[in-house]
Amino acid sequence: MPNTQSAPLNYVPGEHPDLKPPIGQTGLLLWVRKNLFSSPFNIALTLATIYFLYVVIPPMVNWLFIDSVFNAGSRDECRELGKGACWGFIGKRLGQFTYGFYPIEERWRVNLTFVLFALALLPLLWEKMPRRRMLLWFSLAFPFIAMWLLLGGFGLESVDTDRFGGFMLTMVIGVTGIVFSLPLGILLALGRQSGLHFIRWMCTGFIEFFRGVPLITLLFVASTMLNYFLPPGTTFDLLLRVLIMVTLFSAAYIAEVVRGGLQAIPKGQHEAADAMGLKYWTSMRLIVLPQALKISIPGIVNTFIGLFKDTTLVVIIGLLDPLGIGRASLSDSKWQGLSTEVYVFIALFFFICCFSMSRYSIYLEDKLHTGHRNE
């Protein structure tokens, strides 16, 4: 019998030498071929994209890093030192961008608030945190601690809210809005489904009103109209008015998002809870809401991200958020005309905040994923 065909049989079973797959069928090359050059249309798109990136990226990197000036005392100085971005301006004004007009010797209080905020956030976001139960009490108390630290009183020098500004103002408005609008929104959503007509009408009316008007209108009402309604001479802190409006506005949105979640819960769940003899609040707390909120997470986080970005609207009523600080700084004739730097810098801050919120929401969805999702 010729030996040519049966040669492989000589291998001991399990000891076959693994032959390499043909070139281009594995690894990077395969990926490139499959994803970038699979059809003439794809080839054209890929080439166009590469050309686009080639045109855009080198000048951008040049402007951002290579030609940029990190240390300068004025715009003219910047222009002499390099053609790129003038980060020296941002550096000189970093304190203002972060703290607004908060007194310099009291800025440690803002820093401490930021640190405590991170600490308060940890047990909320991370379930495996050691001693989570104890720390949750701290998280609950945090808004009051923050209020005391930022506003002063009880031993600390008091600071008026008109000194708030910059990123600190954004955080104050954003975080307050988020923290207070979620519980309020849930209550509104439950109220809208309530069997008691009065409560249902009230909640529906509230939600429809606040969803039906733009936030900017509410801010104008807060800043100017309220002054006409209140007795003359009463001053009612502008920031507080804004906080209330922002919270109510986003609570209306949260309510609708949560209502979507509530409606997705099968009627059987309610009936099962009733059959167990659970009262309304207990059944909501133990059975309906955990499921409804889980479904609503993407919508809730979406609303929060929108709210956080909407905080920049306060510049229209004269509160100096980072954009406002930027505008006031750009009016300094020493620095005039560096608006691109300011906007890039502020965009970076917002991107970091919003991107981390969105990532956390994905993590939360995966963690709570119990196999009911269609995939």
């Binding site: 000189k92 004004r93 607004g100 001479g233 009523i317 505008r327 006031a328 009016s331 005039q336 005309g337």
Partner: protein, 340 residues
């Protein structure tokens, strides 16, 4: 019936009481608070900006500082409230601020219908046009069909419409919100023309890469007297603001500067200087302040000319000429009533 009468009487009494609190002098409120509430803009080059330390500076905040210096002897006793073109008048009317020093044009309807009182003019401005030189336009009347960057909610918007209608030419408005936005749009070529007050144009032009590539049109199409304003109904407070401004203008006319004011306050041969600085007579008492009120304002902030040169004058990047903002003795329009 008795009850209704009683309620009506109480309500009437309450409203009188309320009205009373409104009428109570702003000066007393300011003194009780310990600081002046001053409304300023959110940023106009040279006129209002934050410095590297985070303090408000500029031609407009200087008015607030002078008033604070006159009332308290501390030019930093000011609480600045930033107002936009849309919120400024309600902020003043509602009492959120005591005085508005925010390049606001004095017009008939603002003075009367909005129940505000302009106390004077600290900058005589007028609306102009800036175009790139390469367009080869020599006069604003040649701008037929041009796209114009224009700040919304301002008198400039109305002036622009009037000017083009009078001359029978058309334009396309590019609405913008802030000076900086206008600059960016103009540089990017999204509008052929930028129009705003001539002072703003000069400031913007100075910040462009090549100022000589841009021309200011010779036409000034409007009168824009800018000045501080207060609420109707408290003439005593209006007097303080008006005469603090006048004191700065008079000081320049009489040659009193922040440098020599101390020496002059000990007494000079010019009786008007003596009256102004309080070494003769007691003008301060007539407006509810002490003798040295004007001395403090000039000492801490400077006279009109000093403030002008510090923030917007020729030596600054804004580079404005005095022009019609010179003293009347130099052919300008600044003319303070006498201190007598």
């Amino acid at each position: 019936m008795n009850l209704i009468k009683h309620v009506a009487a109480t309500a009437a009494a309450a409203s009188i009481l309320l009205a009373g609190t409104v009428q109570a002098g702003t000066l007393d409120d300011v003194k009780a608070a310990g600081f002046l509430k001053c409304g300023i803009s959110t940023g106009v080059p040279g006129f209002a900006f934050t410095d590297d330390k985070g303090d408000w500076q500029g031609f407009d905040p200087a008015v607030c500082k002078a008033i604070a210096a006159a009332v308290f002897g501390d030019s930093s006793a000011v609480k600045y409230t930033t107002t936009t073109g849309k919120t400024r008048f309600t902020a003043l009317a509602s009492g959120e601020v005591d005085v508005l020093a925010r390049n606001t044009t004095w017009t008939f309807s603002r003075d009367t219908d909005l129940k505000l009182d302009f106390v004077g003019v600290n900058y005589y401005d007028g609306q102009g046009f800036m175009v790139p030189t390469e367009l080869g336009v020599a006069s604003a009347k040649d701008l037929d069909g041009a796209s114009v960057c224009i700040q919304t909610g301002t008198t400039t918007e109305l002036n622009l419409a009037d000017f083009f209608r009078t001359n029978g030419i058309s334009y396309e408005a590019v609405p913008i919100e802030t000076n900086d936005e206008a600059r960016t749009n103009y540089v990017a070529g999204r509008c052929d023309v930028y129009t705003t007050d001539a002072s703003g144009l000069a400031a913007t032009r100075s910040s462009l890469e090549d100022p000589s590539a841009h021309t200011l049109m010779p036409e000034i199409i409007s009168k824009e007297p800018l000045g501080p304003l207060v609420r109707h109904g408290d003439s005593e407070w209006a007097d303080i603001v008006r005469w603090t401004l006048n004191a700065m203008i008079t000081a320049e006319e009489l040659g009193v500067t922040s440098a020599n004011v101390d020496k002059m306050a000990t007494g000079t041969d010019n009786p008007e200087i003596n009256r102004l600085l309080g070494s003769e007579g007691d003008l301060g008492a007539m407006i509810g302040l002490d003798k040295a009120w004007a001395w403090r304002a000039i000492k801490m902030v400077g006279n009109y000319g000093e403030v002008f040169e510090q923030f917007i004058g020729k030596e600054t990047p804004i580079g404005l000429e005095r022009g019609i903002n010179a003293q009347w003795t130099n052919g300008g329009l600044l003319y303070s009533p006498p201190f007598r």
